[in-house]
Amino acid sequence: MPMANDLVQPEKFFLNRFGMNQGALEQILGSALERKADYADLFFEYRSAEGLGLEESMVNHTSKAISHGVGVRVCADDRTGYAYSDEVTVDRMGIAAQAARAIADHRTGAHPAVQVGEQMRGHDLYELETSPLDVPLEERARLLREIDALARGYDPRVRNVMASFSAERRIVMIVNSEGRIAADVQPLCRLSVTVIAEDGKGRQVGTFGGGGRLEWKYFLAGERWKEYTIKAARQAIVNLDAVDAPAGEMIVVLGNGWPGILLHEAIGHGLEGDFNRKGVSAFAGRIGQPVASPLCTVVDDGTIASRRGSLNVDDEGTPTTRTVLIENGILRGYLQDRTNARLMKMAPTGNGRRESFAHAPMPRMTNTFMLPGESPPEDIIKSVKHGLYAVSFGGGQVDITNGKFVFSASEAYLIEDGEVTRPVKGATLIGNGPDVMTRVAMVGNDLELDPGVGTCGKDGQSVPVGVGLPTIRIDGITVGGTRA
């Protein structure tokens, strides 16, 4: 277990734990740069995680995982060599450095010796006095049982309840060939509730949850856990009466908060630096061009305190930033890690992220959201004669190259003559990234960030992210229901 003192100075944690010293780090970076390379870094990670789960009114799952390792990266032009090992020893890192430097094909003797010393300072975004990992397991288990009881009491049609709480602490240290060193202790937790409801006609599922880089008491404050539970139960019950969703292009109103997954899929991925450097994104070469209605300003902001998608420094040691992606409809910026920023002659934006030491970093989103507009959400609903009001979503996906993206509604209603009427079954919405935002006709004044459950997958790597959205009206997107 890491000692409290280590967590104040995480860089000392790795040096002490694995018997490293500055000289060893310099020597390994020197070895990594032995051939003609531009840059090398070492990424140390130590992660401990605990989870507990409730099924059928019993907290019958507990788990604990400890993982650690080191990744050595060597960059030469647009080539990346990466090697990792879960044995954090000088010998093993030396072997990894040799494997990684194979990417650089010419031997040179002239690289200046690396001197490790300068600290890269990040933000201070995680306001934790205690980790949820330190809350007695029995207290965490008790909350899951209370969730179970609350959900079962919500409606006699509730058949089953699954609840889980997971928490982790990820300690990272990055040392690079510029001699800079950065370290961070990243807490993360999540409470999830799933409810199955059943009536004579069928069964339905509802889910809700939340979390972030937070303390345990966050879930107790204002009885947030009750809100999660009721929302999950209500969604399952509402869906029991859902009618078939419509099929075809129509006006869609997206509720605030989690429906911001639209931005993540339609815009965010397409603006990641790697796809644009390679010219394989539907947004490539379009900076300065209109790609959205003038009502739309979209940012990616990794600096919001306590959020799931926020980080003090990214996984290359760069402090996170707020990047304007779209400003009043005009495409303004890309999300960059160091490599792609260097190759595109742009500044890194603190978006170089990786799932773990077993992965090389790449440009990833943090918290992606649209700034609020002026319309009250009621006016947006009232303005629609016939359409769909979608308030909750499952996952989404995008084909970067042709720009087509989907996201799947898990709770949606018909709008008829300006009123929200019947619930409809889940349906996938499909659109074209560079085009869908030009159809945004109204933007609400009710921006909300999601409750903190998002995980983004790219090239086999998962990282926690956030999204956010005010209520918006999109004039024409294809809804994939079954009713003509």
Partner: protein, 450 residues
Amino acid sequence: MAQVDAALAEWALDEARRSGATAAEVLCVSAESLAAGVRLGEVEKLKSSRERRLGIRVFVGQSSATASTAELERDGLKDFIAHSVTLARLTAADPWAGLPDPVLHPAHVPDLDLADRAQGIVDADTALKIARTAEQAALKADPRIKNSEGAEFDSGRYQIMFANSQGFAAEYAGTSFNLGVAPIAQDDQGAMQQGYWFTANRHFSKLEDPAEVGAIAAQRALRRLGSRKIKTMRAPIVFDPDMAASLLRALAGAASGPSLYKGASFLVGKLGEPIASPNVTICDDGTIVAGMGSKPFDGDGLATNRKHLVDAGVLKTYLLDTYSARKLKLEPTGNAARSVGDSPTVSPTNLYLKPGSHSAEAIIGSVKRGLYVTELIGFGVNGVTGDYSRGAGGMWIEDGELAFPVQEITIAGNLREMFKSIEMIGSDLRWRSPVVSPTIKIAEMMIAGE
């Protein structure tokens, strides 16, 4: 550094017992891999890895906990195991928890030829050469192939060691080799489409020709150029083999024990009932020699087997591990799946739809107006209700011929009806993944477009 061997597993089981566990189970995985990528002919990435993890599941009576760690030194491991036992004590007693019935452990663990004896990790130069050959073939295929997301060749080797406190101990090794290529085609208007194709096998010598993999990837990108949206309508849908396999995965998820005992499956109560068209037979076979999804024993240490999940349209079995079998008052089916840090879950082994007699061309030829689906995106499959709605792309079929490419549409229905309306099954089954299918035709689904 500590060795990962039978002695370590035995020691860990003893240590669990000393800490107060009444039963325990250890799973160790060690893995090595090398991935090499090229893009536009140049080396883009090399990635080499080495990992070892120990997972332990401990029981104190009917209470259990799972834990995993990369810290294999015995001093640290001792504390870790003791902590796991403490976690178990704090967990609710679950009447269905526990190791499997010991008589079900196999006396003999078969050799399924899962590891290539002639070829270990492929060296970087060879891997780069294979990737380059594949990408070159794609780039040369047509002047409209103007860009590329590159080609990657991966090889990996893993060793799995399993032991429990009721005397079952066994290990096995496996290898995998995989080549994927992703060229990008561009039309006169600048619109781009990606094509992807791959070959994968446990044996290096059985991979398909890299140049052919590249050429197929190029053709897949090219045929998407000029894709357009179509009108909203109901129409017959032909799923290509990979897209059809995604339907089998959804069915297997709904047929898995944990989904069933939670009531979170549209197959609850359907055992022995017709759930698919009578021409549909789906097998799960964990014993296929050199199969991608084969294993000599499952995540509970029970023998894998060959069985019909669906026989002539009737659901014959669920897919069960020991725990879900006990809850459902059934026998385990050898489908316990395991990752080092988790308690057992359920997955199919090698799952396939038994091929029919039609060629893919004949199936397409049977459709007057309909859709040939070659791409699906998104997660719009609800295993609880069977509701299905996904983003799709492919080719429009007009009078039995592929007419033009289609994109930005969805196809929707419900898995219950979709499986019952499988009208034709192709003869084109190819083993590249653990879950595979030939081409299939579904009578009608809703297409949402303009």
